[in-house]
């Protein structure tokens, strides 16, 4: 077996950190599998959402960041809509992706990450998405040079692809939001991680 679980008092830390980041309580997941059952991407996933949540509950950080599951998640929110415990699993997937990036983890499956980057780069640059540029850039970065090239000319022919990027007058403002949000998330990441390390239990609750 690739991973063994060693339970020390420290295992709840990862759950606390992710709880704090997404405002949900992952200890509520009772491993029913409903999220996995409805997820459209399970055939491609190594673990599926249920097991991903279990690894978080057990504090298995290495195993978690080894998973391709969060990167294959299509953000369809089927799981979120049906979880009997109202856990926003899609958001958990977002947060895991984000943590992997902030913590500099190796990403197990490259394409979705590259797509995310070039897409957002295109938006950040132009204010609006420039599809031909993005696709070309994606093909370059992902190493799949001829991905979907067949579709390009057809769409051009149909008048569905613009030849030049649109830009927006709010481009600068958008860039500013990108900067601030990134800084905010970094800070929040540090803070929740610190808190998760510090807080030994689940609050000492008083009933007064």
């Amino acid at each position: 077996m690739k991973y063994q679980i060693r339970l020390t008092g420290d295992n709840a830390r990862l759950t606390r950190e992710i709880n704090a980041r997404c405002g949900v309580d992952l200890t509520q997941c009772y491993q029913c599998g409903e999220c996995t059952a409805g997820c459209p991407m399970t055939p491609e996933m190594d673990a599926g959402p249920t097991k991903t949540l279990r690894l978080i509950q057990l504090g298995m950080e290495d195993a978690l960041f080894d998973l391709n599951t969060p990167w294959l998640c299509a953000s369809c929110e089927t799981c979120t809509a049906r979880c009997p415990n109202d856990i926003d699993i899609a958001l958990v997937m977002d947060v895991v992706r984000q943590m992997a990036r902030l913590k500099g983890k190796k990403i197990p499956v490259k394409q979705p990450r590259v797509f995310q980057d070039v897409f957002l780069k295109s938006v950040e640059n132009n204010g609006r998405l420039y599809e031909p540029g993005m696709i070309a850039f994606y093909n370059l970065r992902s190493g799949d040079l001829f991905h979907d090239v067949g579709l390009g000319p057809k769409m051009l022919f149909k008048g569905k692809l613009p030849l030049l990027p649109h830009t927006s007058g709010n481009r600068e403002k958008l860039r500013e939001i990108f900067r601030k949000a990134e800084a905010f998330e970094k800070e929040a990441g540090k803070e929740t991680s610190r808190e998760a390390h510090a807080d030994p239990g689940h609050g000492s609750g008083s009933d007064t």
Partner: protein
């Protein structure tokens, strides 16, 4: 009725037919969709996948652009709707989130603002009866499979119809005289956010959806999202190569069908833009 219209990137590019047909329909119904100025991209799925706070920040910027037009923001794309509505609901209900997002975007949130999908506007504000009156060419004898995909009604907090069993598109199209089929995959995700990076997975999903629609006897799929349309339409060629199945099922926007019913020409609703053209079938039924 005037709405602040946010088209989003697709509607000015790959989904120009959605934009054009919606405008044609709105004009015939007397609904004014006034485009907001200097809008930017909402970031679709990648934005919250990278950073949920960024997604909300951008959405807040977009919502603020409605100022001076109307607090009612009309949106056609499901991904845009999802991002903006989610941020809006979150900010209205959670004071802490709201101040975070306001801080990031540098813009005060206006709690009066409402993100509305065009389907919802037609159903609730305009009304089925009013729509029926505008129908000049009923879509008789046309069997449509209405496709909702994932983002239009998930999570349930942002849904404008029953989140698991929506009927809004069926009701609208039936009001225009079409026959809608009951089929199993109307709510299944087509994987559009992975259409580029994980094409192989997406082909599987699209194939299942098309198969289900055909099995139910649909002649055309109607959808309300540019990502769905592009995915279901353009991937049919790939499916033929990979699974050897030729679906040949046109995928159009609900606005195109409603536009035709209300008397717009094929050109006005850009019916010929689809990779799998709906035109021959519509022509055969005398709807073009």
């Amino acid at each position: 009725m005037t709405y602040a219209y946010y088209p989003g990137c697709s509607l000015k590019g790959t989904a120009i037919d959605y934009h054009t047909s919606a405008m044609a329909l709105a004009e015939r119904l007397g609904i004014e969709l006034k485009e907001m100025e200097d809008w930017v991209c909402c970031g679709a799925s990648p934005i919250h996948q990278r950073n949920p706070a960024l997604a909300s920040g951008v959405a807040n910027l977009l919502l603020s652009l409605s100022k001076g037009i109307s607090p009612q923001v009309a949106v056609l794309c499901a991904a845009c709707y999802h991002n903006m509505k989610k941020a809006e609901v979150e900010m209205r209900e959670d004071g802490k989130k709201r101040s975070e997002v306001e801080e990031i975007s540098g813009i005060a949130f206006d709690p009066e603002v409402r993100t509305r999908h065009f389907l919802d506007i037609l159903d609730k504000d305009y009304g089925l009866n009013a729509l029926k009156e505008k129908v000049v060419k009923p879509l008789s004898d046309l069997r449509v499979a209405c496709y909702y995909g994932c983002l239009l009604s998930r999570p349930p907090e942002i849904a404008f119809d029953d989140p698991e069993q929506p009927t809004i598109m069926e009701r609208l199209l039936e009001a225009a005289g079409a026959e809608t089929v009951s089929w199993s995959h109307r709510m299944e995700c087509c994987g559009a956010s992975h259409a580029v990076p994980l094409t192989h997975a997406v082909l599987r999903l699209v194939n299942d959806i098309l198969q289900s629609a055909r099995a139910a006897g649909a002649e055309v799929i109607a959808c309300a999202c540019p990502l769905c349309q592009a995915n279901l339409d353009m991937r049919q060629a790939g499916i033929l190569t990979k699974f050897g199945v030729a679906h040949n099922l046109p995928v159009v926007y609900f606005t195109q069908l409603l536009g035709l019913a209300c008397g717009a020409t094929g050109k006005e609703v850009m019916i010929e833009k689809g990779m799998v053209s709906a035109a021959p079938m519509l022509r055969a039924k005398n709807l073009l």
